[in-house]
């Protein structure tokens, strides 16, 4: 099972490789793209991209020098006909440079790249929302070698898909991506903070009503208010516990470390650390955390031992107990809490 980590600068490659990443991925936006299409990015991220083909070529060389592969992200939700041609040109250049894989979401672009560059290794982005084996087969028939599952899948679903399509690699999220909505089904932009930021920060007031026109009962209104309060708490966890870290810089937030034994047992080929736009320190700490679990698994640790190690890394026992930080909270039920509930504060209980 490979560890997949993001980079946004060439200087990040050596430390991330040394920390234990096997595969790296990046974005790159040529200036011509911005000028032609008047869109800041070819991959949904206006920031966190390499700035030129020359930088991309240097990044590929650096990754290979340090024993990693480098993938290029082309994962806008959908590309127009002109954009498909331009993105295929980017893919062609990347492959010619010796780049290892293209991470693509739009099936039209996948088909175009597969036809133009049959030698290219294509990974289906999580933005494609491929959540079943039939979808994986569809993308495999287009020429994809790997499917990155969307963030919100269960362990059982991930492992079922991997078992049904053994000829297609499956990658699953393991750290840091906090979007509330499904990436492939969210048609918004991350506005600057002063204009609202991501829509899922949820700066909305809610005015509930019965859809059939009946007034809400006082009891239901109270329950909805309590549910909203729990949701706000969950949202805080989802957004990396207020974007906090430990004193050593280890990030809190969405995490699937305790699930790595199940993911490995389920033949998941790779685990993904998200956060191309994040600071280098966060990426490095993230790789170190995942690598610690990877090494424990290699050494024969069982699921309970992995959970003990994972929750002790930051440490994050109180946060972990809530389950709100988990990509795969079912592991808490399956493996039991790593610490006695009586030792935990009230904060995470609802």
């Amino acid at each position: 099972m490979n560890i997949v980590a993001p980079i946004s600068r060439i200087a990040e490659i050596a430390p991330l490789a040394a920390a234990g990443a096997h595969e790296l991925y990046c974005g790159m936006v040529p200036q011509e793209w911005v000028g032609t299409f008047r869109i800041a990015s070819a991959n949904r991220r206006p920031g966190g991209n390499l700035g030129s083909a020359a930088e991309l070529e240097a990044a590929i060389a650096a990754a290979h020098t340090h024993g990693c592969t480098l993938s290029l992200v082309l994962n806008a939700q959908q590309y127009s006909d002109a954009q498909v041609a331009a993105a295929t040109d980017i893919a062609r250049a990347f492959v010619a440079m010796g780049g290892d894989a293209l991470i693509v979401s739009d099936p039209g672009l996948i088909a175009a790249i597969a036809e133009a560059l049959p030698e290219a290794r294509i990974h289906v982005s999580s933005v494609a929302s491929c959540r079943n084996a039939s979808g994986a087969r569809f993308f495999g028939e287009l020429g994809a070698r790997r499917v990155i599952l969307p963030r919100d899948v269960t362990l059982a679903e991930a492992c079922e898909i991997a078992a049904e399509v053994p000829d297609i690699e499956i990658e699953a999220f393991v750290l840091n991506d906090g979007c509330v909505y499904e990436e492939g089904a969210c048609h918004t932009v991350h506005l600057p903070g002063r204009l609202g930021g991501p829509i899922c920060l949820d700066r909305y007031t809610y005015d509930y009503r019965h859809r059939d026109g009946r007034p809400l009962s006082a009891t239901l209104a109270r329950r909805l208010a309590a549910n909203d309060e729990a949701y706000r708490k969950w949202l805080w966890y989802r957004f990396s516990c207020g974007f906090s870290t430990t004193a050593d810089g280890l990030p809190f937030g969405p995490c699937g470390l305790c699930a790595m034994p199940a993911l490995r047992a389920g033949a998941i080929a790779a685990v993904k650390i998200a956060g191309r736009e994040g600071p280098t320190a966060r990426k490095l700490a993230s790789v170190q955390m995942v690598r610690r679990i990877f090494d424990a698994l290699e050494a024969g640790a069982d699921a309970s031992e992995v959970m003990r190690i994972a929750q002790g890394l930051r440490p994050s026992h109180e946060h972990c107990r809530t389950g709100y930080m988990c990509y795969y909270p079912e592991v808490l039920t399956a493996n039991g809490p790593a610490v006695a509930p009586s030792a935990l504060p009230q904060a995470g209980r609802d």
């Binding site: 006909d81 739009d106 048609h187 059939d212 039920t333």
Partner: protein
Amino acid sequence: MDRMTAPELAVSAVTPKPLGWLAAAPDERLAHWREVLEDDALAAWIAPLAPTHLYIGSEFCEYLMPSPRTLDQALELAADAGLRPVLLTPIAAPATLRELAGLLPRLPDTAEIVVNDWGVARFLLEARPELPRAAGRLLCRVLKDPRLSGPEWAHQCRHSLDSQPLRALLARLGLGRIEIDVPLLAESDSLADLPAGAGVHLPYSYVAKGRMCRPGALARRGPERFAPGRPCQKECLSFSAATARAGADGDAGTRHVGNTVFGRHRHAVGEALREAVAAGRIGRLIVPGERL
């Protein structure tokens, strides 16, 4: 609108609802649409149209796939009303595909299916290839952030359905029609160059959906409260929320229903839509059959 340019009209509902209003007097039908659409001008435009299709199920949530019994009821309702039934399907987890497989034999040859998952499209190509299928609005992706209002966003809010590779894939999968949401901005030209017979949803466009469901968490506790794949009591069928941001007067109106955020179309977009319908560019209008 004259008979030559009148599009098909589909009425959509998660579960079967009485259709007695179909045979009601014009003023009663108008009252029905006013209540459902909460827009007098839109109601007046829709009311003279005769519904042609009944959409059943959900594009947004796997828990809202109809049970076999519910589907049978919907099919009976559609047949009694002389409407063609259309099964809506969501992004599918493995279990959702199994449920769908159980429903397919119940669909008559007159039925259609709206597909929002490439895996579902591939599955249907093998399971019921003879049924007409449309690519739903989750496959036909368009930027529609209701917080955007300026014309500077228009070019980004245009659809990308001119993509020849994408159109080739739709054809290969037997997805003979496409459906999109009413566009966010009238300036975005999003209703131009649509494939023939395109369907447009109104008055709400879906903005974002999660697998996490806030109202669905109402009856749940513990670590998995907001996690995907948990039991659901379908609270979204009972209530929804009008949502607003303080000081954001330019926002399109939004409503949160279950796991989905909907944006309501702005007046100018409604005008653009009517022009597109008058010009014969829209094959089908799809409106909710119940109040959101």
